[in-house]
């Protein structure tokens, strides 16, 4: 610890253009400006500590009080740069480095001042290295102000003096700043807890959806047996009812899968299993599945595919799911006419378009179409069915695969859903 000189450090600060010590009222304002309105208060605590030295003390430690009474160092500053590592060592010791009266102060939430604090800190520091560091810090007086806000004590502000006692004005300012810090930390925690709550909700949704599928699959299993005439054939009218029952159960299963996918997308737990696939094969599979959706309607489903195969590194299951969502949506909103699925490969991009001649959407409806639980006319939801999640799921999965989904539409003119995968290493090879 050789080159520890107060004067050089002071000069160093002046060179960095630090403003001259402000009045204490301004200090609170500067702390306010540093903390701002953002939720990331942790990042600013070292700067706040630096701001309080030397106006409020010769050294400053700011700690956060975490769960299980863990006191975690959030910021430290010493007027003497050479002593900063010693201070950091004391700060890192957390609760273990604090004299007992300060530990009690944290528990009660009441501020506490210790004269002849050096000896108290040395007693608290049982270990050799920490004791040594504390001794070198030459603490004369110490002031601990617990950071108390709505949800109790969230941290502590510890000011150390190596010479003069704290003045009433300094203690006053410390209290005000502690209050400001407490509110910021409290707010940050509230935000963190809220986002934790969202994650919990998403995972609950995923678990619930899985549980819903088990009985539904049993319903589908028995219904399939009845359709097959097991154990005995049904009367034709009853058979028709069972087939409607099965169709509805499949519909419900599809909706649960949509909710499940959306929950995974929101939680960020949807995983990719990429392989090299021919997009034409996936397009044909999706189209075949979509044809089963609309056997009774006057609808033409067509594919426009290149002569040569379009190879793309992607997740085939998710790509098929996206195309099926888009085709299902097109079938839903096209009472009669045609739906075309087109795949085009260019030098640096692949484009897949699903065009329908259906009811179409107004510009503001297009914007909202990818939001959950929204269909352009709520009566449509009742008439046609569906969760209204299809396009949201398709858009989310497309982003996951590195592509983009855009919708073009006019009311009465039909809709085109376009998937673009740019920079995709698509290559066309002879079939």
């Amino acid at each position: 610890m050789g080159g520890r000189t107060q004067s050089r450090d002071a000069e160093g600060r002046a060179e960095k253009g630090r403003p001259p010590p402000a009045g204490r009222a301004d200090l609170a304002g500067s702390v306010d400006a540093l903390l701002g309105a953002g939720a990331e208060v942790h990042r600013h605590l070292p700067a706040v500590a630096a701001l309080l030295v030397p106006e409020l003390g010769d050294a400053c430690l700011i700690h956060e009080l975490k769960e299980h009474s863990e006191l975690v160092l959030a910021g430290s500053a010493h007027g003497d740069a050479g002593a900063a590592p010693l201070l950091a060592r004391l700060g890192a010791a957390g609760l273990r480095g604090l004299p007992r009266p300060f530990v009690r102060a944290l528990q009660s939430g009441e501020e506490h001042r210790l004269a002849e604090a050096g000896a108290a800190f040395e007693r608290a520091a049982r270990g050799g290295e920490l004791k040594e560091a504390v001794r070198e810090l030459r603490i004369a007086e110490a002031l601990l102000v617990p950071l108390v806000a709505g949800r109790g004590t969230v941290g502590s502000l510890l000011l150390l003096s190596t010479g003069r006692p704290f003045t009433p004005a300094q203690r006053d300012a410390a209290r005000r700043i502690a209050r400001r810090l407490a509110l910021s930390l409290d707010y940050t925690r509230a935000v963190e807890e809220a986002s934790g709550g969202r994650a919990a909700k998403t995972s609950f949704l995923a678990v619930m959806s899985h549980e819903l599928k088990t009985p539904l699959n049993i319903i589908l299993g028995y219904a399939e047996l009845m359709s097959r005439g097991v154990p005995e054939p049904l009367a034709p009218a009853t058979l028709k009812q069972v087939d409607r029952l099965r169709a509805s159960a499949y519909h419900l299963l599809g909706m649960i899968d949509e909710v499940l996918t959306l929950a995974r997308l929101e939680a960020g737990t949807e995983r990719l299993r990429p392989e090299t696939v021919d997009l034409r094969v996936i397009a044909r599979e999706a189209l075949a599945m979509a044809e089963e959706l609309a056997p009774e309607r006057a609808l033409r489903l067509e594919a426009r595919l290149p002569q040569r195969s379009v190879l793309l590194e992607t997740d085939p299951v998710k790509m098929r799911q996206i195309l099926l969502e888009l085709l299902t949506n097109a079938v839903k909103f096209t009472p009669a006419g045609s739906i075309t699925l087109e795949v085009r490969a260019e030098a640096e991009a692949v484009e897949i378009a699903v065009r329908d001649t259906g009811t179409g959407m107004a510009p503001d409806e297009i914007e909202r179409a990818v939001e959950p639980f929204w269909q352009s006319d709520l009566s449509v939801t009742r008439r046609i069915g569906g969760t209204g999640l299809g396009l949201t799921v398709a858009a989310g999965l497309t982003r996951l695969l590195g592509g983009e989904l855009t919708l073009e539409s006019q009311p009465g003119e039909g809709t085109t859903a376009r998937l673009t995968f740019t920079g995709a290493s698509a290559e066309q090879v002879e079939p």
Partner: protein, 125 residues
Amino acid sequence: MPGKTVLLVEDNEDNRAIYALLLAHNGFHVIEADNGNDGVRLARERVPDVILMDISVPVIDGWEATRLIKSDPATQQILIIALTAHALAEHRQRSYAAGCDGYLSKPCEPGTVLREVERLLGQAE
């Protein structure tokens, strides 16, 4: 395949009933176990032609039951189809590593189960 015996090892009563009804309707003789231990015991006592083995059954899981059946000279010729709840490549690999002859992921339509049983028996003949 009239006269062939299928052992269902599955702890969900409804799933067991659904598969049993369809298999019996198609001429199979069906016996049932609701845990892995009983599955192995019935395999030894009755020596079925095919076992439909749910992997997540209690007492001993389907993979362990499969290993026991396949390591016993008296039962190793029995064809075993694994049923797993997740369509994961890892589950498929573990199933084949344990000695399964076929693999289906749940939920599995009854018709698919019937086809797989008939396909495996057809291959074996």
